[in-house]
């Protein structure tokens, strides 16, 4: 076999003096970078993905992982990735895959938006002393309410409220299926969601019986593969989501090869063991908006109108019109996934070149729904590149009701965003089904970290609200007047509905 001409990205090195030959690195690396050579650890640096599992578990700090200095000659046009992918494709004839969201340096609008704060004319509010409310309800809201007066003179609601998802804070966990992530990772997320009073999403892989106890904090997803879908499944959670698309691979289906379908996953997905789990690109019963409407109502019928129905789409050029159609088709929630959104596996070329950023998408959708007078008809969930509570605050100010967190949740479990999820070798036990790897991820331990993160972000969000002089999240939602753009051209500002700093 001839040696690949694709230059390795990273150089794994072991300091022979510090190394005590304990072999932990061999055991920890999911990618088999290390092996035992009789008297020392051998390194196959071509396999290294810089996930840093070995680095953290080496007791002697003997390991360093460096970016390979022997990289192709510097060229602003022919970048490393271009040359490397061509070489790989020349060797294999395949489509290079990747995991996680795009790492290309497209402008990140969140980093060009700044949030307001109060000075003198309106007081800021101290969240340590005053109540600060983050509670959020997702679902269709009637435009108006009718009341009767009870015998005690108090209001009695006459209008029947459509079903809602109650969130104690405007965060949800993004859909990540059992199959794309390990059951332990899913369990970690479910436990955290329950504790936090928010929700997680099964993704398209069905609902494993071990997640069942968390069902009141679960959204169940119906995707093109229809894995694990039956009436019990649809009624198991607090809402049903139809997945049309994903930000990292809009218009692209999914393919979980048969060798990654052991018994447990097969059972959860309700497919035979060892068969390929194919998610076709489109849903085969949805070729138009009318078809979507029929599926939405079929799901509402199946759940007896007790669960909100969400429709998840990738942010694409025409997202505003599409979202408007989705709302008119009867969806209670529109979930928009920006092009920087994560994935377990996607073709690099698709991930890096299709779709639009979430910031533009939220602004366009929120505007369109308001222009059409139907903003109350559905909640908006924004996803795809929320890296901090500040991003969340900006997304909400642009018009989102809540934000979905995928990558950030995985980072609390050890993920370093190495982007090699598609290999199924994740050393952190997250995006793998190999039992010796998944066992590392103890849901009890990692749920606590995830809870810590969301608590921390909630506190930060409260500080931001306090600085803004408001004490409820609904006063930030869609309040673009509290954002200013820096270094944005006037057309972008116009699309975002945001003034430039200084105005």
């Amino acid at each position: 076999m001839f040696k690949s001409l694709a230059v390795p990205e990273f150089l794994a090195k072991i300091d022979p003096v510090k190394c005590i030959r304990c072999k932990r690195c061999i055991q920890n690396c999911g990618w088999s970078v290390y092996s035992w050579g009789g008297d020392k650890v051998l390194i196959d640096t071509f396999k290294c993905v810089k996930c840093l599992r070995c680095y953290h578990y080496c007791p002697e700090e003997a390991i360093t992982i460096e970016d390979n200095p022997v990289i192709y000659r510097n060229n602003a046009n022919w970048g490393y990735n271009h040359i490397r992918n061509i070489k790989r494709q020349a060797e294999t004839g395949g489509i290079p895959l990747t995991g996680m969201g795009s790492d290309l340096p497209y402008p990140i609008l969140f980093d060009h938006l700044l949030i307001d704060a109060c000075q003198v004319t309106n007081p800021s509010i101290d969240p340590l002393r005053e109540p600060m409310e983050l509670r959020t309800y997702l679902g269709k809201k009637p435009a108006r309410l009718e009341f009767d007066k009870g015998p005690d003179g108090k209001l009695r609601l006459k209008t029947k409220m459509p079903p809602q998802i109650k969130l104690e804070m405007p965060f949800i966990f993004a859909p990540m299926s059992y199959g794309s992530i390990s059951l332990n990772a899913q369990k970690t997320i479910a436990m955290a969601a329950k504790e936090l009073g928010i929700v997680m999403n099964t993704g398209e892989g069905g609902l494993h019986e071990e997640i069942y106890p968390y069902r009141s904090n679960v959204i169940v997803q119906v995707a093109s593969g229809r894995f694990g879908v039956n009436p019990d499944y649809l009624n198991a959670g607090v809402a049903v989501e139809i997945k049309i698309g994903q930000g990292a691979k809009p218009g692209i289906g999914g393919h979980l090869p048969g060798e990654k379908i052991p018994l447990d996953i097969a059972k959860t997905r309700m497919i035979p063991v060892g068969t390929d789990a194919l998610s076709p690109a489109p849903q085969h019963d949805i070729y138009s908006i009318e078809d979507l409407r029929q599926l939405i109502y079929a799901l509402k019928e199946a759940t007896n109108y007790t669960k909100p129905v969400s429709v998840k789409i990738a942010a694409v050029h025409n997202v505003a019109a599409i979202a408007s159609g989705i709302v008119r088709a009867g969806a209670d929630i529109v979930y928009i996934d920006g092009f920087r959104g994560g994935t377990g596996a996607a073709p690099v070329i698709i991930r890096d070149h299709l779709g639009i950023p979430i910031e533009h998408a939220i602004a366009a959708v929120d505007d369109r729904l308001r222009q059409e007078g139907i903003r109350n008809e559905a909640s908006i969930i924004a996803a795809g590149g929320i890296r901090s509570s500040a991003d969340a605050a900006k997304a909400i100010a642009l018009g989102a009701d809540a934000v979905a967190l995928g990558t950030s949740a995985l980072i609390t479990m050890g993920c370093t965003v190495c982007g090699k999820c598609y290999t199924g070798n994740c050393s952190w036990g997250i995006t793998t089904q190999r039992p010796e790897l998944t066992v590392r991820l103890d849901p009890e331990v990692y749920a606590e970290r995830l809870i810590n993160l969301i608590h921390a972000w909630s506190h930060e969000l409260k500080e931001i609200l306090g600085a803004l002089g408001v004490n409820a999240i609904e006063s930030l939602r869609g309040s673009r007047e509290r954002l200013r753009g820096v270094g944005l051209d006037s057309q972008t500002l116009d699309i975002l509905g945001v003034k430039p700093a200084g105005r």
């Binding site: 309410l145 108090k154 903003r375 006063s475 007047e481 105005r503």
Partner: protein, 363 residues
Amino acid sequence: MNHNFQKDISGCGLVGIINRDGKRISGSFACNSLCLMNDRGNGLGAGYAAYGIYPEYKDLYAFHIMYDELGAKTDTEEYLKKNYHIEKKEPMPTASVPTIKIHPIIWRYFIKPLPEKAERELANLGDDDFVVHTVMKINSEIDGAYVFSSGKNMGAFKGVGMPIEIARFFRLEEYEGYIWTAHTRFPTNTPGWWGGAHPFTLLDWSIVHNGEISSYGINKRYLEMYGYKLTLLTDTEVVAYLFDLMVRKHGLDTATACTVLAAPFWKRIDDMPEDEKEAMTALRMVYGSALMNGPFSILFGHSKGLVGFNDRIKLRPLMAATKGKTVYMASEESAIREICPSPEKVWAPRAGEPVIVELEDSR
């Protein structure tokens, strides 16, 4: 939806008086009370609203309109003539006040929408809706024209000056009303514009307001979804339209509307009895974008009553007092005592809890 607006910011003092028996009193009371709080204004705006001042025209819409120049008047009157029966029109009676050197041209009209509905614009609208449409149209489309007030048997008088100067200018001592609200202003970023002073009115509703609404951005966008055009870019305008939407269009009562604007905290709602909890939760879910967040005290007048209330954590002052059939509300207790030295009861309304006063016989 235009996001490139410059919002108006100001601090203020306010006064409200209502005689529940409908007894009419002169404007000088409101003026005297307000003048005690001169340090709450800076001479860049003061104004008054009065109810019961035009009993002889009580079935007609009384339009107070200011014009920057005569061309605006011609355009406005042309529009009014086409769509309204004009019972009477006259220049607003004013007195000369040495410190008010420049002022707009101000006229008043007693009118009603033409009954031959086919001839007027938007014939399918009811009278009130049509008047609202007219006000929006004049304010946003006719350059240099601005409607101070448009209700029946009521009017707004306002301008750039100290409270006493504006009262003298409009000869308020000659008017008698059963409800008066008054306002002095401390704008921090606007040049004096007569239209920018409070009260802000729509139909027979008037708002005077002290504070800054930190949720202005979303309140504005929420109203725009229902077709309101926010031309003034003041918080007060937002308050008036929110009331209009909730009370006139959605049929909520005043107390419920106040509950939306200064919503109880979830913590309190969660402890409520089931029925009330359900009602309050739905109110917050549906009208969350109408929550007025930030410091304010507001007086909201209408032909049948007066409502005063604060934001949900009371970041701006509001005092109330009663004596006999009269209820007083003001930013400071001293302003009440200035015109009512020995009230029977004085209290500071709690955060978010409205003081709702209605006329005895709500005609």
